[in-house]
Amino acid sequence: MKIQLNGVETDITDPNLASALQELGYGGAAVATAVNEAFVPASRRTTHILSDGDRVEVVAPKQGG
């Protein structure tokens, strides 16, 4: 299935959010997620099932003012 990962169309094989993050190379990284502009806490990633076309945002710590 295809999702929009940080604005880029991306293929994933498993619709489970936690599995998709693993597949996409985020395993173990300090990241936070939102799906279709709504925050999905880390504790709910294992039960969150993605749908085709979902907009997934994955963010990490960055410099800021």
Binding site: A29, A30, A32
Partner: protein
């Protein structure tokens, strides 16, 4: 000591982490500044990337409190979601709330700011709103649950200093018991000293240090100015007057012609 939401800090200097020439200079500038709070953000991370983790490890090494921001958010929804993500990543209820209303000036959207502050306070956040010197807006933010206010000195990144000293003095006078931080627009240490002399509790800046030719020396300069300004405020400065008044005694002056 300055206190934000019950956390006491020895330094009244809050410093941003963006725009430095290198991570090493950022770390050195922080150590030179003595700042107790570092502002940070969250941004998109590529799969397999380690930039975010590396940055976070470096900030943790500095041993300072982190204040995540919602920089670049133009809507309440965007700001709230960003704050929720930041809280999970950084493990702090503190959030520097920015809801921007105007792209050229980066002026806060007062209506969105109050709404987002209320939502986030209800969700257990401790909100540091990036606001203006508007007294009515300040009232609304306090009613929404904010226990700190951070009015701008000037638009972000301009280095213009305190463009509305009257407004900032009025805000200070109206809310004597609320921790107030001048956030944004400072370019020189003298401007930070001016804010502290007015009785502001702290200053927050980034660009003035990061974009200086020598960020480490500029961090030291700001640290000393902030301390000097605070000392002056605590020392109860003299009242200015229009007419000269000699400081050397007139009585006893020799008659010499």
């Amino acid at each position: 000591m300055v206190s934000f939401y019950g956390t006491e800090l020895a330094s009244r200097f809050m410093l941003g982490t963006a725009l430095y020439p290198s991570p090493a200079i950022l770390a050195e500038a922080f150590r030179a500044s003595g700042a107790g709070i570092a502002t940070v953000s969250v941004r998109r991370e590529a799969g397999g990337g380690s930039a975010g983790g590396d940055f976070w490890a470096m900030i943790k090494d500095l041993g300072v409190k982190v204040l995540p921001n919602t920089a670049g958010c133009y809507s309440v929804k965007e700001a709230v979601t960003t704050a929720q993500m930041a809280r999970e990543i950084f493990g702090t209820p503190w959030i520097k709330l920015e809801v921007i209303g105007h792209a050229d000036t980066l002026q806060p959207d007062p209506f969105g700011l109050v709404e987002a502050a209320r939502i986030l306070t209800d969700e257990g956040f401790q909100v540091f709103p990036y606001t203006t010197e508007d007294v009515v807006l300040a009232e609304r933010l306090l009613e929404a649950g904010c226990e700190v206010l951070m009015p701008w000195g000037a638009p972000i990144g301009t280095g213009l200093g305190l463009t509305n000293p009257y407004g900032l003095r009025t805000l200070r006078a109206q809310f004597p018991d609320v921790p107030l931080v001048v956030d944004a627009g400072l370019g020189l240490p003298s401007q930070a000293a001016q804010a502290m002399e007015m009785g502001y509790d702290a200053v927050l800046l980034n660009t003035a240090v990061a974009k200086a030719g020598d960020p480490v020396r500029m961090a030291q300069g700001f640290a000393r100015a902030i301390e000097a300004g605070r000392l002056a405020y605590e020392a109860d400065p003299m009242e200015p007057r229009d007419m000269a008044a000699p400081s050397t005694p007139v009585l006893g002056k020799a008659f010499l012609g």
